[in-house]
């Protein structure tokens, strides 16, 4: 078990990356710290560098710049086998010719453990993963979720594992089993309290699994926080837009002479205070549909349509060329025609060049 710290991390797949060209880098200027025993997620679209980051932690890749620390030990130069890391891959990796038991025993036997101890550990972990009945079977005969459990089990059997890394482990799992495996993971984390890092592009997976989520975009961490923080205080328009369903409304705005943000001429009260620095940048007002409500006065809109999403209606309201989404709770009348909208100032922010203004 270990606290994991990445320091000044930069990584490029090119042989000679140019320091000043962002496109040359898969990861840029990363400083991350993961506390011991926590559940963490790396969330971002395909190609944002999250798998690269995971490989740097596991040691499958060596960073172009920067150091990796496990607790106070610098492991940057160590091989994956020496780092005591376990990893579950996108596609289940099992040793086909071995039984489930031998698969789980493999990392222990490679490390020279005695057969008696191997048996105890494997039996215990198999029980935990509900694989007890399958121990004698060929691993190749199992279903995809069973194989992923074996992959996970090969990490859990090792008592010395510093962290377990998951690289989109539910990609090939049938939808109805995804939910089960996800809750199993959460349950296991609570039982074993190992550091777990989970890479995904699925916000539901990230937000349900992790205590802390790192949202990544184009090789950079745009925000790190609890699921609630990411939802209520997105630090970047990307976070607002990527997390939440539907995503955050983004409306272009101008900062007037008095320092008040105006959307299409209407003054909007926001939680952003230090707006003087935002002048001259591309400014937008960001507000989640959850924090937009119908009001007697405010921004005049034309209601275009409402879609029933179960507990809410998602309502599309148009002001000029801009579409504003809001949620109307089930049971409330669905609005029509010309209405006015107001934003909750506590949850409305100004974004300058994409970044939230304090």
């Amino acid at each position: 078990m270990a606290r994991i710290r990445l320091e000044q991390m930069r990584h490029s797949y090119r042989p000679q990356p140019r320091a000043e060209v962002d496109a040359d880098w898969a990861l840029r200027d990363l400083d991350v710290e993961w506390a011991d025993g926590g559940a963490f997620a790396l969330l971002g679209p395909s190609g944002c560098g999250k798998t690269t980051l995971l490989s740097l932690v596991s040691g499958l890749l060596k960073p172009t710049h920067g150091r990796v620390h496990f607790d106070d030990r610098d492991v940057t130069a160590l091989e994956p086998g020496q780092r005591n890391i376990a990893q579950v891959f996108q596609f289940p990796v099992v040793y086909d010719t071995m039984t489930v038991f031998d698969n789980l025993a493999f990392p222990l036997r490679n490390r020279g453990l005695g057969e008696a101890e191997v048996r105890t550990r494997v039996t215990e972990i198999a029980e935990m993963l509900d694989l007890g009945a399958a121990l004698g079977q060929r691993a190749s005969g199992l279903t995809a979720d069973g194989k992923q459990k074996i992959s996970l089990g090969r990490g859990l059997v090792r008592s010395d594992v510093a962290a377990i890394l998951f690289d989109e482990p539910l990609t090939v799992i049938d939808p109805h089993l995804k939910w089960r495996l996800r809750s199993k993971l959460k349950e296991l984390h609570q039982r074993v309290r190992r550091t777990m890092i989970y890479v995904t592009h699925d916000q539901t997976e990230a937000l349900t699994f992790a205590d802390q989520v790192l949202v990544m975009l184009e090789g950079q961490v745009v925000q790190s926080g609890t699921p609630v923080e990411l939802f209520e205080r997105p630090a970047h328009t990307f976070v607002g837009h990527f997390i939440g369903s539907p995503g955050m409304n983004l409306l272009p705005c101008e900062i007037d002479a008095a320092g008040v943000p105006r959307f299409a001429g209407h003054a909007v009260a926001t939680a952003s205070r230090e707006l003087s620095g935002a002048r001259g940048k591309r400014t937008e007002i960001g507000v989640r549909p959850e924090f937009v409500r119908l009001a007697g006065e405010g921004i005049p809109v034309q209601i275009e349509r409402a879609a029933d999403s179960g507990r809410f209606h998602i309502v599309d309201a148009r002001h000029g060329e801009h579409l504003i989404k809001l949620l109307v709770a089930e049971g409330q009348p669905v609005p029509e025609g010309q209405r006015h909208l107001a934003f909750d100032p506590q949850h409305t922010r100004v974004y300058a060049d994409g970044w939230a203004v304090a």
């Binding site: 596991s58 499958l60 091989e79 994956p80 086998g81 890391i85 376990a86 990893q87 891959f89 996108q90 596609f91 990796v93 040793y95 086909d96 010719t97 071995m98 493999f106 990392p107 490679n110 490390r111 992959s151 090969r154």
Partner: protein, 288 residues
């Protein structure tokens, strides 16, 4: 009452294929079957002999010896080529310019006509002027494949290994390239050594291509003719007279059509049987 129109014109459409298969396979094979049960003294006169030729072939020491030589030859080349081919494939580079260079080098022996391969090795191994033959004699080995059965066998096996190991290499290399990176990464994380990776990842994943490689090499080496005829002509004496060489001697040298036909059929059945055996043994795991 059926209202369906029976249109016999469809037969004309399948006729080309029927003719092709007939002339290509069925008629020649039936001609062999026909010869195998008859005796002829020329003049296109045939006399029915039943299974006499089959009995004669099965009981002849000559056939048994040729078969033993054939089995020995195939056994030796399989035992060398399959492990060697896998070893070379494992040692080949995975990326960069080296890949193309290796693949071209490996493909080259496969592109050389059989009789040319035979002629090349014939000259290469000559004790007085050949690079290999002369070289070995200079080093103090008494090596003369035209006189010594062992030397003839060494040359024959070396030639076949040179000519055909590439096939195993290319198949194994393709098989290795198809293994996803995640397996190697998982093995590194699980602390597996080089041997464990080979034993538990590479070998199981190569199983299917190796099955193909063994079958192809078995059938080809069991039917070796051209290279061996050009290299040794079956000699010295009968030392390298394998089945196909013996068959041609009987059929075209002695013009014993009946025994030759019976022998062809027995030869064919042996190949079929052994191929089936290989296949069954090597795929047994999946069905159980």
């Amino acid at each position: 009452m059926s209202t369906r129109t029976h249109n016999q014109k469809a037969w004309w459409l399948v006729l080309p294929v029927v003719l092709l298969v007939a002339f290509n396979a069925v008629i020649p094979l039936m001609a062999v079957v026909n010869y195998s049960v008859q005796e002829t003294f020329g003049n296109n006169e045939f006399f029915f002999e039943g299974v006499r030729w089959f009995q004669q072939v099965m009981q002849s020491a000559r056939f048994r010896e040729a078969l033993q030589r054939q089995l020995l030859f195939t056994g030796i080349v399989l035992a060398i080529q399959v492990p060697l081919g896998v070893a070379i494939a494992l040692a080949m580079p995975r990326k960069g310019i080296g890949v193309s260079i290796c693949l071209v080098l490996m493909a080259m022996p496969l592109l050389i006509p059989y009789n040319v391969v035979g002629a090349m090795w014939n000259i290469f191994a000559l004790p007085d002027i050949g690079l290999m033959g002369k070289g070995l004699n200079e080093l103090g080995f008494n090596f003369n494949y035209t006189r010594q059965p062992v030397a003839a066998w060494i040359t024959l096996v070396a030639m076949d290994v040179w000519h055909w190991t590439s096939l195993v290499v290319l198949l194994a290399y393709a098989g290795l390239s198809a293994i996803p990176d995640a397996y190697y990464q998982a093995a590194r994380i699980d602390g597996a050594g080089r041997w464990a990776i080979f034993r538990h990842i590479q070998l199981p994943k190569l199983k299917h291509v190796l099955l193909i490689a063994v079958l192809l090499r078995f059938m080809d080496s069991f039917m070796i003719y051209t290279e061996a005829v050009v290299l040794t002509g079956g000699g010295p004496g009968n030392a390298t007279t394998v089945l196909s060489i013996d068959l041609v001697k009987i059929a075209l040298g002695q013009f014993d059509l009946g025994p030759a036909a019976a022998m062809s059929l027995i030869y064919f059945l042996i190949i079929l049987l052994l191929s089936w055996l290989f296949y069954t043994v090597m795929t047994k795991d999946q069905t159980s």
